[in-house]
């Protein structure tokens, strides 16, 4: 279990992380969401022992990150932002170094390195110097060093940042594969990632925790949650007709699309459906919205800025 207790970090007068507290159980992929400079990376740096907290602490399966730092670090794998690596070394030499630093000796070094090489399909670049690798391979090497000792806690700072869509997909697949047995903390500012990857999401801005929910829970906070969007010809007439429905709260016409927002009672989708059939409208598209994360994100972090 990862237990964060009132974790705080100041840089001069700036509060980078402001009394952050939360707990994570195994089997969770926790997404850290927040604008740039929100304190996501700083939090991760403190958890992994790179930065000392100005106040508060955290415990990784009972090992305090301040008083029992080495034991806590042994339980964690960490991919720092940008996945820094020793570029002049070959992939296998680098992974052997990490294995030895993780305390493996003798045959165990080769066995561990062999395992992650297979897991991340690094066979073809084994002897290659890291700086000559493509971005996708570099990121895979970064992930390989993080999971080499099969840690129960993985801290990944923007693991898919700067990758192409295929590579992103690949990294997400890997994370999902490991998810059931581990605590995985992922930071991102890519919102689609939260939906694709996380079982729990925390929105952080200015070092403070603003929301802590499941992705579905966050979506439910959107004003678009359960709204119905239509694409059809005569939008104006439809707007006035649909605005009269008791199930609708508000109607919005934007960029050739009409969105009806639900009032708190009744089933809006069925009601709209009924009107469409009754009036015999030619509808090109009709869609029930799950909610828009970017809108939730903006409204939560925007309130903060105001």
């Amino acid at each position: 279990m990862l237990e964060v207790k009132s974790l705080t970090r100041r840089f001069g007068s700036l509060m980078a992380v402001d009394h952050l507290s939360f707990q994570v159980e195994p089997g969770t992929v926790l997404g850290f969401l927040g604008p740039n400079g929100a304190g996501k990376s700083t939090t991760m740096k403190m958890l992994t022992g790179f930065l000392a907290p100005s106040g508060g602490t955290a415990a990784v399966f009972g090992h305090d990150i301040c008083t029992d730092a080495l034991a806590a670090r042994r339980k964690m794998g960490y991919l720092p932002e940008g996945a820094p690596l020793y570029g002049e070394l070959s992939v296998s030499r680098f992974l052997r170094f990490v294995a030895e630093a993780r305390g493996f000796r003798g045959d165990e070094v080769g066995r561990r390195v062999g395992e992650v090489i297979e897991r991340l399909s690094l066979e073809e670049v084994l002897g290659q110097t890291i700086e000559t690798l493509s971005k996708g391979f570099k990121r895979r090497v970064g992930l390989a060093q993080a999971i080499l000792h099969d840690p129960p806690v993985l801290i990944l700072d923007e693991p898919t940042d700067g990758l192409d869509p295929n590579q992103k997909h690949e990294v997400r697949r890997l994370i999902r594969e490991m998810a059931p047995r581990k605590i995985i903390v992922v930071s991102t500012h890519i919102l689609e990632e939260v939906d694709a990857l996380c079982s729990r999401a925390m929105i952080i801005a200015r070092g403070r925790l603003l929301a802590d929910d499941s992705p579905a829970g966050l979506l439910a906070r959107s004003r678009y949650h359960n709204a119905v969007t239509l694409v059809m010809d005569d939008l104006e007439q439809a707007a006035s007709r649909l605005g009269e429905l008791p199930e609708s709260r508000e109607v919005e016409v934007r960029r050739g699309r009409l969105t009806v927002f639900p009032a708190s009672r009744g089933n809006l989708f069925e009601a709209v459906m009924g009107v469409v059939q009754q009036e015999g409208w030619q509808v090109e598209q009709m869609q029930l919205e799950a909610g828009r994360l970017d809108e939730v994100f903006r409204s939560i972090t925007g309130q903060e800025a105001a």
């Binding site: 740096k45 992994t48 022992g49 790179f50 930065l51 080495l70 670090r73 042994r74 964690m76 960490y78 720092p80 932002e81 940008g82 820094p84 690596l85 020793y86 570029g87 002049e88 070394l89 070959s90 030499r93 170094f97 990490v98 030895e100 630093a101 993780r102 305390g103 110097t129 060093q145």
Partner: protein
């Protein structure tokens, strides 16, 4: 301390994976030979010893050791690998020590590769090999002093050029503090014991006695203390600056 060796091995692997090692060794050997034969008049003196060889080591190290030391931390901070290194279960002390020892061993290797000059002097005459061995030891210890200073300066900045320049300046001060031109400045207004203390900080003073074959425990302790002091300073600076 188990991970000191792991860090040391990785560092050495990096030296030889890049041209750094080869360039350094070749330049070091050429320069030390050039100093010995041209400036030191090795042949013309017609004395079978290596004094002309060792005399120039402090000046050679003044530039070459900071060139090795400047990358130790500055490069790690620039590339961000310092975050990787210090979040592994390695203590900062192990990291500082491992890096220092790797660079020190590497300089030792370069020093060892000057052995042809020792063979030469043994063919040409009958030198006191005990004195030569002592001088080699002294030279290596002095290089360690320069290196510890450079390592600490390297932790101050993420810019290797800045690290190099500051290292050369600080090393220069330590080197010169025993020379009359520096001491004369202080002699006028500082009490004699303090002037002696400044003179005693000088690498030159301690190295010159070892290089003459006089192994005085105090000179050895001096270099060990210098190395220890700067490595501790390195650890503190690293802690303060690593996240900047």
């Amino acid at each position: 301390m188990g991970n000191t060796g792991v860090v040391l091995k990785r560092e050495l692997a990096s030296y030889f994976a890049t041209p750094v090692a080869y360039v350094f060794i070749v330049i070091y050997l050429i320069m030390s030979a050039a100093f010995t034969f041209y400036l030191g008049s090795f042949y013309e003196r017609e004395i079978a010893d290596l004094e002309p060889f060792f005399t120039f080591h402090p000046w050679l190290y003044l530039f070459l050791v900071p060139a090795i030391g400047m990358r130790l931390w500055a490069e790690e901070r620039k590339s961000g690998t310092v975050e990787l290194l210090l979040t592994l279960p390695i203590t900062p002390t192990e990291a500082v020590l491992g890096k220092f020892l790797a660079a020190w061993l590497f300089i030792g290797l370069a020093l060892f590769l000057t052995f042809p000059i020792w063979i030469t002097v043994n063919i040409l005459g009958d030198p006191d090999n005990g004195v030569i061995l002592a001088a080699y030891l002294g030279s290596w210890l002095m290089a360690g002093g320069f290196l510890a200073i450079s390592a600490c300066m390297s932790a101050l900045t993420r810019n290797q050029v800045v690290a190099f320049i500051i290292s050369v300046v600080v090393c220069f001060l330590f080197l010169l503090s025993g020379l009359p031109m520096v001491l004369d400045v202080f002699r006028g207004w500082l009490p004699q014991p303090l002037v002696d203390a400044i003179a005693n900080l000088s690498f030159l003073v301690h190295f010159s006695s070892i290089s003459r074959g006089v192994i005085d425990l105090r000179d050895l302790i001096y270099f060990v203390l210098v190395i220890g002091f700067w490595l501790m300073a390195n650890r503190i600076v690293l802690e303060l600056k690593k996240a900047d």
